[in-house]
């Protein structure tokens, strides 16, 4: 039985994740074979307090495909609302008849607090540096399509682990399915207390690349440079970016993933992208991740709302 809300993958058992993945597979297989309107008449509020295109649109498409009405509630640009007023807003939305809320917020913790005070399901669309559960689920889904089993799969995760909600969700997702994590980042972005039990870490990208079945590149936020965490992004790219030369280190079957949007020239060089697109397009799973995102979000909405009348 799934919990009421989807805020953190820590709250889910492997069976829960499998249920969502199976539901997503069902939706993907039925694509184009008539409507599935299990959420007809439901009102789903999508409220993102942080810039986002793909995740927001992905949720919106998912909701519409299930027949739900979507209310896109966008706070006034530049409004620096306090938690308290956001809570009020959410109570108002509940009173107006919302059946679920998909929420993205820059700080962690607010969603958990609200979840105890409203009955409708809350779904995280990304919460501070804390969790981004649907991203990790769609990654699992995409990998399962590529590989029959994730057991023993070595996933090299490269980038700003410290500030990554995607990484934090994966700490509960990949290991649950038997995949092994190898974390790679400069020490300032990879505090050892963050490394989950059983995961490996290294500051040397090249040794890790040659071992990876999956190379998972995390987005490096431009503003990290301003905070003095990195001396320069070009230095980061030299040490931790995937470039043409490093492509030769990859295993033959290795695939490359990224939660998007990609900073070309930082996580991955334009040359490496062009090379892969031209010669090894199957290695790049980025588009598949985006497409599968819709089915995962359909599954989440369907399971969290459907079971509740």
């Amino acid at each position: 039985m799934l919990p009421k809300d989807l805020l953190s993958l820590e709250d889910l058992h492997k069976e829960d994740m499998e249920e969502i993945l199976a539901r997503a597979r069902f939706f993907k297989e039925r694509e184009g074979k008539g409507d599935h309107s299990s959420l007809k008449g439901k009102n789903i509020v999508i409220s993102f307090w942080e810039p986002s295109t793909r995740t927001r649109v992905s949720f919106e498409l998912a909701a519409r495909k299930l027949g739900a009405r979507v209310i896109d509630y966008v706070p006034d640009a530049g409004s620096e609302a306090k938690d308290e007023s956001i809570e009020d807003t959410i109570k108002t939305l509940t009173a107006l008849g919302a059946d679920a809320l998909v929420f993205r917020y820059k700080l962690p913790g607010l969603l958990g607090k609200i979840s105890t005070r409203v009955e409708m399901p809350l779904i995280s669309g990304g919460e501070g540096c804390y969790q981004h559960p649907t991203q990790a689920l769609l990654d699992l889904f995409t990998l399962q399509e590529e590989r029959l089993s994730l057991r023993g799969l070595k996933v090299v995760m490269v980038g700003d682990i410290l500030h990554s909600r995607v990484a934090r969700s994966h700490f509960y997702a990949l290991p649950a399915f038997g995949a092994e994590l190898i974390l790679v980042a400069p020490p300032v972005l990879l505090p050892l207390e963050l490394v989950p039990p059983g995961a490996e870490y290294t500051f040397n990208l090249e040794t890790a690349l040659s071992r990876g079945d999956v190379i998972y590149l995390l987005r490096v936020q431009q503003e990290r440079q301003g905070k003095g965490l990195l001396p320069s992004l070009s230095e980061y790219a030299s040490l931790f970016g995937l470039n043409e030369k490093r492509l030769s280190l990859l295993k033959k079957e290795a695939v490359i993933m990224h939660p998007g949007p990609v900073n070309q020239g930082i996580e991955v060089s334009p040359g490496a992208i062009s090379y892969l697109e031209a010669y090894q397009p199957d290695k790049l799973l980025l588009q598949k991740q985006v497409q599968n995102g819709v089915y995962i979000r359909m599954a989440v909405l369907d399971l969290l709302l459907g079971g509740r009348g």
């Binding site: 700080l107 919460e127 501070g128 540096c129 934090r168 700490f171």
Partner: protein, 447 residues
């Protein structure tokens, strides 16, 4: 009021007393302490089965007045003190305005004299406006009655200013109470740089932000001498540094809060803002080191760092909520249940930490119940269990991480200057059920 306390067990290390005692109180002072005062004619309070401790002095509280009366006032803070068994508190100077002028010291003392049920000892600002740039008018503040100096709450980054302040304090023979924090290392952080904080994706405060400043202050102290007191130590590195200093015979005292003794960063789970304190709750290894240091005498004092905040402020989420937890009304039961009752600290050691040492450091009366001492004491019930219910606090601040805990060692009588200020949880002037007539105490009894 004259009265005779009978049947209780007294723990008074300064007097070398550790057992059943009868205590005669006359005109606000201890008139006699003996195993038997049979021949004395005085109203008797039977304390059979109870424990008597010399009045605990919480040498680290924030009473918020002036300027923060929405969070706490001197009156409500002192009511919380006596409710929790404390007969005196030392209040930190980070008010608005800060306690950095004669006028504000005198204002705090006047408000205390008018409204406080406990003794209130103001701590003066160590630097002007607590800005850390120049030392305050320390002599003037001392003349007006402060009992020590601190920059508590605002890290003092300029080591030159710290050195000069410590030198100046020598002249006054007063303690400098150091809030050890390197604000460049702690900047932006809200939780300990440990497993839980990182997992929750929150900006972190490393132990080094405290320990490097502890090291600095110890080295300065070795050069200067005088009285250095390290406030609210939170990590094992600080404990190791203090041990090193004590071995070098550097004169200092150090303090730990109940929340650092009994909680770890795990309390932050669920983004629990009542566990957001500065310095932050740290790892289990840190907590164990602090408990051990207190038992070994490396840390001498327990103080609460009582930091009341309004409910709405603490509901702002972990990133925005202010640091701090209230402590006055939970400290004694926590210490009794989790240290004394478990055999980690003897009752005498407890009294050293909450009464004797604070009195000595601040150079104030009390800390003992020898003949002639002020009749400041607390009676606790070492057996009966109760559940911490924040709504029932006398403090305006309900922000405790200990709500719902079941504890023993509840204070049942708090006496200040021979006058009963708290009786079975009811505080004089604050609770309608507080006995109107003295004779009720004797008729009703405590059991």
């Amino acid at each position: 009021m004259e009265l005779l306390l009978k049947g209780g067990v007294l723990h008074d290390p300064a007097a070398g007393w550790n057992g059943p005692a009868e205590i005669l109180i006359k005109q606000g002072k201890v008139e006699a302490v003996s195993t038997s005062l049979e021949s004395i004619e005085a109203p008797v309070l039977d304390l059979t089965g109870k424990v008597i401790l010399p009045g605990p002095i919480d040498m680290h509280v924030h009473l918020r007045e002036p300027g923060g009366e929405g969070k706490e006032t001197i009156a409500t803070g002192a009511a919380a003190a006596v409710a929790g068994g404390f007969t005196a508190v030392a209040c930190m100077p980070n008010t608005f305005p800060a306690v950095d002028s004669r006028e504000i010291v005198s204002y705090v003392r006047k408000r205390a004299a008018e409204t406080a049920l406990a003794h209130v000892y103001p701590i003066g600002a160590l630097t002007r406006g607590l800005k850390g740039r120049e030392i305050s008018l320390m002599w003037e503040l001392a003349q007006e009655g402060v009992k020590g100096f601190s920059n508590d709450g605002i890290p003092l980054m300029d080591s030159g200013v710290m050195l000069r302040a410590m030198q100046y304090a020598l002249l006054l023979d007063m303690p400098v109470i150091s809030h050890a924090e390197d604000s460049c290392l702690s900047a932006g952080g809200v939780v300990h740089a440990g497993e839980h904080g990182y997992r929750l994706g929150l900006p972190t405060i490393p132990s080094s932000s405290e320990a490097v400043m502890v090291a600095r202050d110890l080295l300065l102290q070795e050069e200067v001498g005088g009285k250095l007191h390290l406030a609210h130590l939170s990590c094992r590195q600080s404990v190791e540094l203090v041990k090193w200093a004590l071995e070098r015979e550097i004169v200092l005292t150090a303090e730990v809060t109940p929340h650092h003794l009994f909680l770890t960063e795990q309390a932050l789970e669920g983004f629990n803002t009542s566990a957001k304190v500065n310095p932050p709750l740290r790892s289990a290894a840190d907590r164990e080191a602090l408990v051990k240091a207190l038992g070994d005498g490396v840390i001498q004092v327990v103080a609460t760092d009582h930091a009341p905040h309004m409910r709405l402020e603490k509901e702002e989420g972990l990133m925005d909520a202010p640091f701090g937890a209230v402590g006055l009304e939970t400290a004694l039961p926590l210490l009794w249940t989790l240290l004394v009752d478990k055999g980690l600290l003897t009752p005498l050691q407890l009294v050293e930490a909450i009464s004797s040492f604070p009195a000595r450091i601040l150079n104030v009366p009390g800390g003992t119940l020898q003949k002639g001492s002020p009749a400041d004491l607390v009676v606790i019930d070492p057996y009966r269990e109760h559940t911490v219910e924040p709504r029932e606090f006398y403090s305006k601040g309900k922000n405790t991480p200990f709500g719902g805990w079941t504890l023993k060692g509840l204070p049942v009588i708090t006496m200040v200057g021979g006058d009963i200020k708290m009786w079975k949880g009811m505080v004089k002037g604050f609770s309608d059920e507080f006995p109107r007539e003295e004779k009720t105490f004797f008729l009703e009894g405590i059991s």
